[in-house]
């Protein structure tokens, strides 16, 4: 479980994980903007998604077309089991660290 994930990759992975059946290029970039208070271009999202898929953390399938998309289909991403466990692994590692944080405020 030693997948190296960059900050952006981790965030995008998280976003995909929390948006079942709805994660594709445009929605991911919108979600990123909404939650991270920061803009990211669609092309950057595509790159990250592709990279994550290559690492086996997410998988994709072609979804339906809508009028807004000019009749083009969506490529919908879903987190894989490996992806999910990677996220949990990272999170648990972080938690361990958080637990070690001196809780000065509470010991007054």
């Amino acid at each position: 479980m030693n997948q190296n994930l960059g900050n952006l990759e981790e965030t995008v992975l998280l976003i995909v994980a929390v948006m079942p059946d709805e994660a594709y290029g445009y929605t991911v970039s919108e979600a990123y903007k909404q939650y991270m208070n920061n803009r990211i271009s669609i092309s950057a999202v595509h790159t990250v998604l592709k990279r994550l898929e290559k690492k086996g953390l997410i998988e994709s399938k072609m979804g339906g077309a809508t009028a807004e998309r000019g009749g083009r289909r969506k490529r919908i991403f879903e987190v894989t089991k490996v992806g999910l466990s990677t996220l949990e692994y990272i999170q648990s590692n972080r938690m361990k660290l958080w637990d070690m944080m001196p809780k000065l405020n509470f010991s007054a």
Binding site: Y24, G25, Y26, S29, E30, S41, I42, S43, A44, H46, T47, K50, M62, A65, T66, E68, R69, G70, R72, R73, K74, R75
Partner: protein, 877 residues
């Protein structure tokens, strides 16, 4: 409504760009996401911003990962690499053949490059003027009374220019231009310079930038001149010469002028070549003609306004002369057709208009075409060598082609392979020819009368042209081998049915062409050389050795000449001297004499002194010399034999020539007959001559001095020093008479050099081609030769078998080459009144020479095989 709808769509061009580069497998997600983003952003931030977002995103997606995948691209690149690698291997394996190939192509490319310099320069004349497109020259077509066309020339009356601007609103500015040579003097340094007389608008119309001085006012002051950078350096060693004084000689007098401008050196591709510019209005040179409509001195250049239709203006200009040339207009009524027509010639056509009479040097476009033709022929011969050798090696390459085909190579791939091979060689040849071009540049400059400098040529144009020439050469040379070799049938090859190799009809005809070109050029060179030699060896009827010709610049002051003659008398190295109207080869007067029976003939006139005959070694065959003391001799003439023959029926020695009124003589008495002499080039028929005794030395343009023995530097120095002692204000200029006379044959000498170089070139290429084909045909017949040897053929018989076919080719080549040469040589020799007759001995000599050359080359190519042990080649398998 519809426009509102359209506004809502993303920019069409960006979308098309996206669809163009994006891979089909990715277009759904990428274009879909962008469209969706655009759709929502439009509502959020407005369509303008959304549009820009869209464009920005399309650009950001434009990267290799989203590009269309071309499955064949990487393969063709590596095939190209492989092809080049194989080409280089073949070059290094077959060193001798590759050497011949590359040298042939090098010679071809070099010739084309050099000649393209020449042609490009010729066609670039006067292009550097910024207003090039709107400058025109006024020229006149002239007609004969019977309505037929006579000639076209560019000289116009002086007052016309001013009227043109006044009468035509289409003409913005006008400048008269005429050129002349003047002596310039500063600090005792006197030289003859090219002077241009112009109007004050000259520097505004033409782009000759002034380094110093104001182009608007430089020509406005009286007695002011503009000089070139080069002239300033020569006279003042600095270009900072504004306000300096320089003296210019006119009508025998030096007059001071102030320098008011320095113009950058004139580009070599300018029709006007000058070092000094003066203003018509500020000099009095042509004041005698400034209001005359009958004297034509200058050329007129007009600058048209924008958007002027030249065709319409030409219609208006055509008969414009009738307005001012009233006498001519009257005269034109008796003409059957036109009298004369004005028209405007674009400035860019001026240099190539060699058929328009002009004082500025022009160039016959035919020269460019002929040279381009020569270049093409040389390149073709070079390519032919390549083709011959490649076909010759077909046997060797056939195996490779067959194997490649078995493995699955397609015909186009093989064609590309052989093309790449040819192009690789032609690029190697190109590299060599760059070196050769710079090596040959000085010789080429003399030949082409250009002054190309190596550094100037290393420009972007060359960097584009040269690879282009190499590419075309490679493609051209490689086409035939590529088509033939790629067409090899695999089974035919393995069944040993291949009939390529050696010499087929195609290569035979190529070799025959090379031979016949070599025969033609070699014969041509010899004939031109013989003619020049004939000119030089001919007895001219006078002796021009050890004669110095002086320019008589003090002819306005005959007293000074007397003093100078006294000085000459004091020098023992000087044998005799004489003044005459103009030295031989420097023009002179001529006139027409009408005999009593009404027939006319043209004769030349020279003003001489009694010492004329002594100095030039011309004999008086009958009668007597002039006597300066006899007043009767001012109405006497001495004629040459030809003149006397022409008038023989009517007059003889001691007769008075009736109806002769010329040069102040009336019915003069023929007192002597001199032997005939060729005062003109031998291209001209010997002319009748009348010699007159000059009453005053003012009519002597030249001064001839005969020295005892060859003139040495001490004597030349003595002449110059004593000249300036006598006449400090008269520039001294000398020449040797024999060099003057030889200078008449410059054009022929130049042709000789051109033909000589072309011969070396063609012969060299033919020899290379022959060497190659001999080598090939021996390799192809190695086994046959060895078997013949085993069966008892000796070296001589084998040699005969090998060379037989080439002798047949030479005979065919001679049958083509000799009649062609005879045709052209006769045409050329017709130009000369005195010329050699074509000598069959020369023709057989040239053929023998080429035959011997072929024999030697074949022997060189074959000796190794002829001497080798037949077992070696028979045992090979």
């Amino acid at each position: 409504m519809s426009s509102g709808e359209r506004e809502k769509l993303p920019p069409k061009w960006a979308n098309q760009f996206l669809e163009w580069y994006c891979d089909d497998g990715l277009i759904d997600e990428i274009q879909g996401d962008l469209f969706e983003a655009y759709y929502y952003r439009k509502q959020e931030v407005g369509w303008r911003k959304a549009k820009w977002w869209f464009v920005w995103d399309v650009l950001k997606f434009c990267r290799p990962s989203s590009f269309k995948k071309k499955s064949n691209n990487p393969n063709s690149v590596s095939m190209l690499k492989n092809n080049i690698k194989i080409a280089l291997r073949i070059i290094s394996r077959k060193k001798w053949a590759s050497f011949i190939n590359i040298i042939s192509l090098t010679l071809g490319i070099t010739a084309v490059t050099l000649i393209s310099f020449f042609v490009a320069d010729e066609f670039s004349f006067d292009d550097f003027h910024e207003k090039n497109d709107s400058i025109y020259r006024l020229v006149t077509d002239r007609y004969l009374p019977d309505g037929s066309y006579d000639y076209t020339d560019a000289s116009q009356p002086l007052p016309l220019a001013e009227q043109l601007v006044a009468d035509f609103s289409e003409i913005d500015a006008v400048s008269r231009v005429s050129k002349g040579k003047r002596y310039l003097r500063s600090d005792g340094n006197t030289q003859e310079e090219n002077v241009l007389l112009v109007d004050s608008s000259f520097f505004k119309t033409f782009s000759f930038p002034l380094l110093l001085g104001n182009e608007n006012t430089a020509m406005e002051f009286s007695e002011s001149v503009v000089v070139s950078e080069d002239l300033a350096m020569r006279y003042f060693q600095s270009i900072d010469v504004l306000g300096k004084i320089i003296e210019i000689r006119h009508d025998e007098i030096f007059k001071k002028y102030q320098i008011t401008g320095v113009v950058a050196n004139v580009p070599s591709n300018s029709s006007f070549q000058f070092d000094v510019v003066m203003n018509y209005d500020q000099t009095s040179y042509y004041s005698w003609a400034s209001n005359s409509w009958g004297v034509r001195i200058d050329e007129i250049y007009v600058e048209l306004s924008d958007n002027v239709n030249v065709a319409t203006l030409n219609d208006k200009v055509k008969d414009y002369w009738k307005k001012y040339l009233t006498r001519e207009a009257e005269e034109s009524k008796t003409y059957k057709g036109d009298y004369q027509n004005y028209w405007l010639q674009p400035l860019s056509d001026v240099h190539m208009a060699s058929d328009v009479g002009s004082t500025f040097s022009t160039s016959d476009p035919m020269n460019s075409y002929i040279l381009s033709g020569i270049a093409a022929i040389i390149l073709l011969i070079g390519c032919a060598n390549f083709t011959i050798l490649s076909i010759g090696r077909a046997t060797m390459r056939g195996k490779e082609v067959a194997v490649r085909k078995v493995v699955g190579a397609k015909k186009p791939q093989l064609i590309i392979q052989f093309w790449v091979e040819a192009i690789t060689m032609s690029f190697l040849a190109m590299a060599l020819s760059v070196g050769l071009v710079f090596l040959l540049l000085p010789a080429f400059n003399t030949l082409a009368e250009k002054s190309f400098v190596a550094n100037d040529l290393l420009n972007t144009r060359l960097l584009i042209t040269l690879p282009l020439i190499a590419l075309i050469t490679g493609l051209g040379a490689g086409t035939y081998p590529a088509l033939i070799l790629s067409g090899v049938k695999v089974l035919d090859f393995f069944k040993k049915k291949m009939k390529l190799g050696g010499a087929n009809l195609f290569t035979k005809s190529l070799i025959t062409t090379q031979f016949s070109l070599s025969v033609m050029l070699l014969l041509g060179a010899i004939i031109v050389f013989q003619q020049i030699d004939f000119f030089k060896g001919q007895d001219l009827g006078y002796d021009n050795t050890n004669v110095i010709v002086l320019e008589n610049t003090m002819k306005a002051e005959p007293e000074r000449m007397k003093v100078f003659e006294n000085v000459l008398a004091g020098n023992p190295k000087i044998d005799s001297w004489t003044g005459m109207s103009s030295s031989f080869g420097r023009g002179g007067f001529s006139s027409v004499y009408e005999k009593p029976d009404g027939t006319e003939f043209n004769y030349s006139v020279f003003f001489v002194e009694p010492s004329f005959f002594d100095v030039l070694g011309i004999d008086i065959l009958a009668g007597r010399n002039f006597n300066e003391l006899s007043s009767a001799d001012s109405n006497s003439i001495i004629v040459n034999e030809t003149f006397l023959e022409k008038v023989a029926g009517d007059f003889q020695l001691e007769d008075n020539l009736t109806d002769f009124k010329n040069m102040g003589l009336t019915n003069p008495k023929i007192i002597g007959v001199a032997n005939d002499f060729h005062f003109q080039s031998l291209a001209n028929q010997l002319k009748p001559v009348v010699l007159l005794l000059s009453s005053s030395k003012k009519s002597f343009y030249n001064f001839l001095i005969k020295t005892n023995g060859a003139p040495d530097s001490e004597l030349l120095q003595f002449l110059e020093e004593s000249w300036y002692e006598v006449a400090p204000d008269s520039p001294y200029s000398y020449a040797f008479m024999n060099e003057d006379i030889e200078g008449q044959y410059q054009a022929e000498m130049r042709w000789f050099t051109i033909v000589k170089y072309a011969t070396i070139w063609a012969l060299g290429l033919a020899i290379l081609g022959l060497l190659g084909i001999v080598g090939m045909s021996i390799t192809g017949r190695l086994k046959e030769l060895s078997i013949r040897k085993v069966l008892g053929a000796d070296t001589l018989q084998l040699y005969y078998i090998l060379s037989r076919q080439f002798f047949v080719l030479l005979v065919i080549a001679a049958m083509i080459g000799i009649p062609t040469t005879v045709y052209f040589a006769n045409g050329w020799l017709e130009n000369f009144a005195y010329h050699i007759e074509l000598n069959p001995l020369v023709f057989s000599g040239v053929l023998t020479l080429i035959l011997l050359l072929i024999m030697v080359i074949i022997y060189l190519g074959a000796s190794r095989v002829l001497k080798s042990n037949p077992i070696d080649s028979l045992r090979m398998e």
